[in-house]
Subunit: 175 residues, 2 copies
């Protein structure tokens, strides 16, 4: 299953800039089998974990997180860029290669003690996921795992989110 | 079902600016019943329509479009803001209240003759959906319907996408 998923991810060299090998999951998502295999693999992993909320990180995290929440019979919560969520928010700043960025979550999106699964497409340096887990912790959710489709182990993102359970479906390294 | 869905949508007055009644679907999505009712209603409507691709418009359209594609057993295709899709794109400009915006789709995302369902959260003035349907037409997809969770009939969005089948789950008008 993992090999079938990996084979459907397209690599775009030098995007968004020179020497980056961009892993493009749109080719996986547009394939009926690819979408099904990916969502089913995640669903099977979490089906008995009594998840209360799936948190998806804007915006590719929405594409995997929403079907997963549906199948798990739980709620879906978006973590978004600033200025997108209309009600009261917690926010968390994080560093980029140059400069800073910020993400937000609605304060009423997670209840204290909720079992939360956080989903994003890519674990690279881990900065975004680290900010997302801090948001969930501010709301006193219990993080069951941080799940990704693709991991780039060379960038050591796992170190940034140390202390959490971490799962990725496919890894690309040393290329 | 529709009333149950409508009751879970929160209204935020004066957001993002004065005199706008913002219809916030995050309260619907975080409810396990709300997410399930919404996705199931759309699934039941399209189950026998032989859809090849569900196109979701960034980024709330991803949250409804992806579970729907999964259930329909078809592929999911994101329409995104410029600079987000790494492969060759078609793009389409559209007018906002002040200025212009642009959305893009991968050229290889839709095959000629594909039966396409386009999904977004909100039909307001219809500008974004009109641009999205033009993108699908450029790729010679056959648009089965344009589907929304919320429609604001006062803004006459249906006129902007005349010629297409249009479906919305709930309407808010004259408020």
């Amino acid at each position: 299953m993992t090999e079938s998923i990996k084979s459907k991810i397209r690599t775009i060299p030098d995007w968004p800039k020179k020497n980056i090998m961009f892993r493009d999951i749109t080719t996986l998502l547009k394939s009926p089998d690819g979408l099904k295999e990916t969502v089913d693999l995640l669903y099977n992993r979490y089906a008995d974990k009594k998840i209360d909320k799936v948190v998806g990180i804007e915006s590719r995290g929405f594409i995997l997180g929403a079907p997963l929440a549906y199948l798990l019979g739980c709620g879906f919560v978006p973590v978004r860029k600033p200025g997108k969520l209309p009600a009261e928010c917690e926010s968390e700043e994080y560093s980029l290669e140059y400069g800073k960025d910020k993400i937000e979550i609605h304060k009423d999106a997670i209840n204290k003690g909720d079992k939360v699964l956080i989903v994003d497409d890519l674990l690279a340096t881990g900065g975004t996921m680290n900010a997302a887990r801090n948001l969930v912790k501010k709301l006193e959710g219990e993080i069951v795992e941080c799940a990704f489709v693709v991991e780039l182990p060379d960038l050591k993102g796992r170190e940034k989110i140390k202390g959490e359970n971490i799962f990725s479906i496919v890894k690309f390294e040393g290329e």
